[in-house]
């Protein structure tokens, strides 16, 4: 089978996703690979609240949430120094209109589970065990 991420139990992933069914599936994929999941947070406020309350190692960030884009979450993640990837069907040029999204990789949508896991493995790789 697919190689598991290095010591995945040690990593917690914040999932920001406002589409219930997509969030449910992401949680399944991440937990199936041994990650702990924080969320899914469906709004900017929910995400910011979770970020204050709980430590985590990386984030998968949906861009267009019901109340607007998730730029404020991206800014907070950058301020915290937590690695994250975008999960958006928008093109790069559209994403780059929001400064906080620039230089942040986008795994695209729809994304097959293996691509989500590969992106997470790359992000958590250099964070070492028990990053928080």
């Amino acid at each position: 089978m697919r190689p598991a991420p290095p010591n995945p139990k040690a990593f917690t992933i914040l999932v920001v996703e406002d589409e219930f069914l997509i969030g449910l599936e992401l949680v399944d994929v991440l937990e199936g690979a041994g990650y702990a999941v924080l969320g899914p947070a469906p709004t900017v406020n929910a995400a910011l609240t979770l970020m204050e309350q709980t430590a985590f190692d990386a984030c998968i960030l949906d861009v267009s949430l019901r109340e607007g884009d998730s730029g404020p979450v991206a800014e907070a993640l950058k301020a915290k120094g937590v690695p994250f990837v975008l999960s958006s069907a928008y093109e790069r040029a559209t994403l780059d209109k929001v400064p906080a999204f620039r230089d942040v990789p986008n795994i695209g949508k729809p994304n097959p589970p293996h691509e989500v896991l590969a992106a997470l493995a790359a992000m958590t790789e250099d964070r070492g065990v028990g990053g928080h």
């Binding site: 089978m1 599936e25 729809p110």
Partner: protein, 356 residues
């Protein structure tokens, strides 16, 4: 102004030409007095024709033509130092919307050094500019709308893919799970095309980039040991319409899934080749594996949903399916020859290909 007989004579013919012009025109003396204004000028800018003669340009109407920049440009033109070409100014009038004007002026040379005449042509471009702005705005709106639609389509495909994977995890039988996984692959195949389409902007798809992305995605989710099995994609420069590419992509998806599932049991090593090439009136898509080959005769497995889909899609593309022994392995080739000219929307491939 001195009115010598010749002066008067020259002016009469010139004035007649100016007055009858369909374009807004002003015929001016060196000191910017109006010698004649075309009827079209008076009509366009709301000036009573009987009042214009020998009036200063700056006194026309209610003084709205007293524009210092225009006056200095006209003086420069009169002294031969400049020519006004497509100079843009705004005409500001009391209680009226500003008009955007484009003015052109030239010095008329009639051989008399003492007497300088200027011809000033004024075009009101307000409506044209507004129309151009509206058109730009419509094009921007349309592009944004298209992007929103693409975004929604992709999001919906993600929801469908998520639901299928959720179901696949929860069903009890391996067979049902297999069907749900296949359905997931098909959705992802269309999603992959959707990405290529939104990058292309003109509705055409570069087949090579699409099939490479598609097979990478299939391989990543279905091949657990890439050193044992691999997929090689060999596609020419073909560019095809969206409806053709969706069919070709789904055919490749089905055939690659079939080969991976049935061709390489017991940790058998091997390779799957996906090939596509097209000529002026024909194209050929092949998926060739070096696996165990298709059992023939009564032992042949029942044609599953997969091959049914391939048949239907191939028919849709006017393609003939040929299954042959690749010794070892299986070669499935769909070939199309355009004899009737009734080919599906196909935009040709090489530079010498025709558009049918």
């Amino acid at each position: 102004m001195p009115n010598s007989p010749t002066d008067h004579f020259e002016a009469a013919s010139t004035l007649a030409v100016v007055v009858s012009s369909h374009e807004p025109l002003l015929f001016l003396s060196q000191d910017l007095k109006v010698l004649a204004a075309s009827a079209s000028f008076c009509r366009t800018f709301g000036i009573e024709p009987s009042t214009v003669s020998h009036k200063r340009l700056s006194d026309l109407g209610k003084g709205e033509w007293a524009m210092p920049k225009l006056a200095s440009l006209l003086k420069a033109t009169a002294s031969g130092n400049a020519r006004i070409e497509s100079y843009e100014i705004d005409l500001i009038r009391l209680d009226q919307e500003p008009r955007q004007l484009v003015v052109n002026a030239c010095k008329l040379d009639d051989g008399d050094e003492q007497r300088t005449r200027l011809l000033l042509a004024i075009t009101d471009v307000t409506e044209g500019r507004a129309e151009a702005r509206l058109k730009d705005a419509l094009i921007r709106d349309r592009a944004m709308l298209l992007q929103e639609v693409q975004h929604r389509v992709a999001n919906s495909l993600q929801i469908i893919a998520s639901v299928l994977m959720q179901s696949a995890r929860r069903v009890q039988t391996e067979e049902a799970r297999g069907h749900l996984h296949n359905a997931h692959h098909r959705v992802m195949s269309i999603a992959s095309l959707q990405r290529q389409l939104s990058a292309s902007h003109d509705g055409d798809v570069e087949l090579r980039a699409y099939l490479i992305q598609l097979c990478q995605s299939l391989g990543a989710s279905m091949i657990s040991d890439p050193s044992r099995l691999s997929i090689e994609v060999n596609v020419d420069e073909s560019v095809v319409g969206a409806d053709v590419s969706v069919s070709l992509g789904l055919i490749v998806t089905e055939l690659v899934i079939n080969a991976l599932k049935h061709g390489f049991p017991d940790e058998r090593e091997g390779m799957i080749h996906v090939q596509y090439g097209s000529g002026e009136n024909n194209w050929k898509l092949s998926v060739i594996d070096d696996g165990i080959g298709m059992p023939a005769g009564d032992n042949a497995p029942k044609a599953g949903l997969g091959s049914g889909i391939v048949e239907a899609l191939a028919r849709n593309l006017n393609g003939a399916i040929q299954v042959s022994d690749a010794g070892p392995g299986t070669n499935v080739t769909i070939s199309h020859r355009n004899t009737s000219g009734a080919a599906p929307n196909f935009l040709g491939a090489d530079s010498n290909a025709t558009i049918s």
